[in-house]
């Protein structure tokens, strides 16, 4: 079995992309048929892409973390805190908009750094560290907002979430930008390859002279930064800061990565697959809404769809394996 597994893994890895791509295509087709075409109208496609941006961005950072055998549960909290502080600076402290954007990004970097330092230098288990950080960040946001919503952000702030470029929403461009650079980064930079090495065999990575700690800190900083970028887009879409921002987004981000072929055991996967994974999740949501499925049964169906899709994919690979 395990040998199978190891060989299986090989195949899995080779097919990871097509794997998720095949799931993706089948789901697109099925939903299109069920909604007789509504789902693939241009307007809806853009709608889906826009909905994917935030989870997508965060799942890109998450991908790096998971490749290094880590996990980052704090992303949603960081997004919430970044939003809260940003909005307060814009609205209540009246800082100039540009400064506020920088502050929002800075918050992502700072809390990412804290995660990185604790995980890399103190060797705190990533799960517990980032879970505590989730509570710290979301808690602070809750405290700052004190149960109110900070609204009435400056007009120009709407650009990230509501602006368009060449008739395509800016947020989509942002997602594309980060996805592509993420993919290039992983495949063509030394850091990218070292990351896979660390995930594949941490001890060997240290022996090979890779600066494991530096890289690891870097990874969590990036993840924090991506959360802040997501916060920019969210606040820009809802033009306010509010405590529930990013609630539960960590699960969606991790799920996107895993569906996209990233192995929780580390050392495998990439951002393209991850973003496709994120798309799949959004599409299922969107499809169920277009089909006006009863809200009481939607969650269950969502689970069933994901479960069956993955199952089908795994069985398909099994077959291919036998036949190879």
């Amino acid at each position: 079995m395990e040998i199978h597994d190891s060989r299986f893994k090989q195949v899995t890895k080779e097919l990871a992309k097509n794997g998720v791509v095949i799931i993706f295509i089948s789901i697109v087709i099925i939903i299109a048929l069920l909604t007789n075409g509504k789902s693939i109208k241009m307007s809806n496609i853009l709608n889906i892409l826009v909905q994917t941006t935030t989870t997508g961005l965060i799942s890109i950072g998450m991908t790096l973390v998971i490749i290094d055998r880590g996990i980052d549960l704090s992303v949603g909290g960081i997004a919430a805190l970044s939003s809260a502080v940003g909005a307060i600076c814009m609205k209540q402290l009246g800082f100039s908009w540009g400064i506020c954007i920088l502050i929002m990004l800075l918050i992502g970097l700072v809390f990412g750094l804290l995660n990185g330092l604790a995980v890399a230098l103190l060797r705190m288990p990533a799960f517990i560290c980032t879970m505590a950080m989730l509570q710290i960040t979301r808690g602070s946001a809750h405290f700052l907002l004190g149960g109110t919503t900070v609204y009435g952000l400056p007009e120009e702030h709407s650009v990230f979430g509501q602006g368009t470029l060449l008739h395509i929403p800016l947020s989509i461009w942002i997602l594309v930008l980060f996805t592509v650079s993420g993919a290039v980064f992983l495949k063509y930079t030394r850091f990218g390859r070292e990351l896979y090495a660390m995930g594949g065999n941490p001890k060997a990575a240290w022996i090979a002279g890779i600066n494991v700690n530096k890289n690891r800190i870097m990874i969590y900083v990036i993840s924090g930064f991506m959360s802040a970028v997501a916060a920019l887009i969210i606040t820009s879409r809802i033009m306010c800061a509010q405590i529930t921002i990013g609630e539960g987004i960590e699960l969606d981000a991790i799920a996107s990565a895993v569906i996209g072929g990233v192995s929780m055991a580390g050392g495998e996967g990439g951002v393209i697959g991850t973003v496709v994974g994120a798309l799949i999740i959004v599409m299922v949501n969107n499809g169920l809404n277009l089909l006006a499925v009863s809200p009481y049964i939607q969650t269950a169906i969502k689970g069933l769809v994901i479960f069956s899709a993955i199952t089908a994919d795994l069985l398909r690979r099994r077959k291919q394996l036998k036949n190879s």
């Binding site: 040998i3 896979y196 002279g209 050392g267």
Partner: protein, 509 residues
């Protein structure tokens, strides 16, 4: 003291002065001095003697409790292997330290990739560079292969290629040939001699005394963390080294490896336990047929890629994509999984102890009884008394040191870990035992122990298959040797009538 050592360090490439190192209660090294000039300086010693620890200290992977390190006359201390690397030291680690999830190129070039003008990794150029590194040790595998898919032998060779590719001034080789079969070993020997001629200093650790004798300029013997002596090769012969390694007190049990075991005669053979017909495995095995008789030790020998290991894997249910028939005790036997195989009375010692053998987080004791649990548990509960009896019993049998059943097994020296994996099956009564390269990284004394144990078990009527590319060894202990060559049976050797060279000839012809 210090000045004196500075003087003595003059002209030496490296001087390790009075090094001590302990782990918890265990002393790995006690006041060891070691020096290196432009030479091949071998370190030998029993498993757990402290060889790896000594070189890890030189490499900056361990910090000594006491002692100083001088390099070219200057005192140095490396806090990480990287620093050692940057000062021109390269090492092949005893336990493979590679990235199974990455390509050969990435394993070779991890932080030395070729970059294009946008400072992106230029994969084409990188692969080409990697290819040249592989060429240097004349192996031709595509550098785009994933490391995890290669055979252990291939992986070990690539580690060697990596070390060479740094063009080090000092090269440390910790059992670089343990997984290699004769042909590949030759490659290593040539290279080592070559770079020595380019005045690179080499530290060479091995349990294969023949290669030690043929390669070394000087030999240092360690025992229980103490240095016994450093002598020039000319002053030494094999027996002296063995005595020094195992200690004169233990001398007695070392003799028996030199004299071959008495073989059971063909006449006394009864019905075969196993009848294997036309075993085929895609790209690996081709119509392999043989019989295994009760009470015999059957050897399988061949060079790398011969597929000898696959025979074990098939019989034990690891490899299932095979075709052919296996008759076990007269009826068809389909090895579906190791679990089933064990139930049927099979046992198996894998070649790759790190990935397939030990459970690093578990204690030595738990590792030993792992497969016996099913026999010593009453309605699910493990019988602690039996458990401890077994563990202590076996640890004595193959003198696994330190004798601490509750120590984490990954704290053991490589060879002792191997003993632990073997102990797992000695502690449990089976019908057929399969050993794949059982003596890999095991010291001379222990090799004798292990083979005499194998022999004892065979005499109890149990059948043993020993898979090994150590032609001499297997010639010493096997009743018959089946030689494989590129997945085909090249012939059968009767050790009483034929020499090991005959087997080797078949293997490479």
């Amino acid at each position: 003291m210090n000045d004196e050592s500075i003087n003595t360090s003059k002209g030496k490439t490296v001087l390790l002065n009075n090094i001590s190192k302990h782990f918890g209660g265990i002393y790995a090294l006690k006041g060891v001095n070691f020096d290196l000039t432009n030479e091949i300086h071998s370190i030998v010693g029993h498993n757990g003697a402290g060889k790896s620890t000594l070189v890890k200290i030189l490499m900056g992977a361990e910090q000594p409790d006491e002692g100083t390190i001088f390099k070219n006359g200057k005192e140095v201390s490396f806090s990480s292997p990287r620093e050692a690397q940057e000062s021109g030291i390269a090492m092949v680690w005893q336990e493979l330290a590679n990235f199974p999830n990455l390509t050969i190129t990435e394993n070779l070039l991890m932080h030395r990739f070729k970059y294009d003008k946008f400072n992106k990794i230029d994969w084409k150029a990188s692969h080409e560079t990697a290819e040249t590194y592989l060429k240097r040790i004349n192996i031709n595998i595509s550098p785009t292969m994933i490391m995890g898919k290669l055979t252990l032998a291939q992986q070990q060779l690539i580690e060697f290629a990596k070390a060479l590719s740094y063009n080090p001034k000092i090269l440390i080789l910790d059992e670089p040939t343990s997984a290699l079969s004769v042909t590949e070993q030759q490659i290593v020997y040539e290279k080592v001699n070559m770079i020595k001629s380019q005045n690179v200093s080499v530290v060479f650790i091995s349990h294969k005394l023949d290669e030690i004798l043929s390669l070394s300029d000087r030999i240092t013997v360690l025992r229980d963390g103490r240095k016994i002596f450093t002598k020039n090769i000319r002053e030494l012969d094999k027996q002296q080294i063995i005595d020094a390694i195992v200690g004169t007190d233990k001398k007695s049990n070392t003799n028996n490896i030199l004299k071959p075991f008495q073989k059971i005669s063909l006449k006394t053979r009864k019905e075969p336990v196993l009848k294997i017909k036309n075993l085929n495995l895609k790209r690996r095995l081709n119509d392999v047929s043989f019989n295994l008789y009760p009470g015999e030790v059957l050897g399988f020998s061949g060079v790398s890629g011969s597929g000898i290991s696959d025979i074990g894997k098939i019989l034990y249910g690891i490899e299932q994509e095979y075709s052919g028939t296996v008759i076990f005790n007269g009826n068809e036997y389909l090895p579906a999984s190791p679990g089933r195989a064990v139930e049927a009375g099979f046992g198996y010692v894998p070649k790759n102890r790190k990935d397939e053998g030990i459970i690093p987080q578990m204690t030595v004791g738990d590792n030993i009884v792992l497969s016996a649990l099913r026999n010593i548990s009453i309605c699910g509960f493990v019988n602690r008394k039996r458990r401890n009896e077994i563990i202590n019993g076996v640890m004595d049998m193959i003198d696994l040191i330190p004798r601490e059943p509750e120590l984490r097994i990954d704290k053991l020296s490589g060879g002792n870990q191997q003993k632990g994996v073997i102990a797992r099956w000695i502690s449990k009564d089976s019908r057929v035992l399969i050993f794949d390269e059982p003596t890999r990284g095991v010291d001379v004394g222990a090799i004798a122990k292990i083979y005499s144990l194998i022999r004892q078990m065979a005499e109890k009527g149990l059948s043993v298959i020993v898979i090994s590319s150590e032609f001499e060894e297997i010639h010493d202990i096997a009743d018959r040797i089946v030689v494989l060559n590129r997945g085909r049976v090249a012939g059968e050797i009767d050790p009483c009538k034929q020499r090991w060279e005959d087997a080797f000839a078949l293997a490479i012809k």
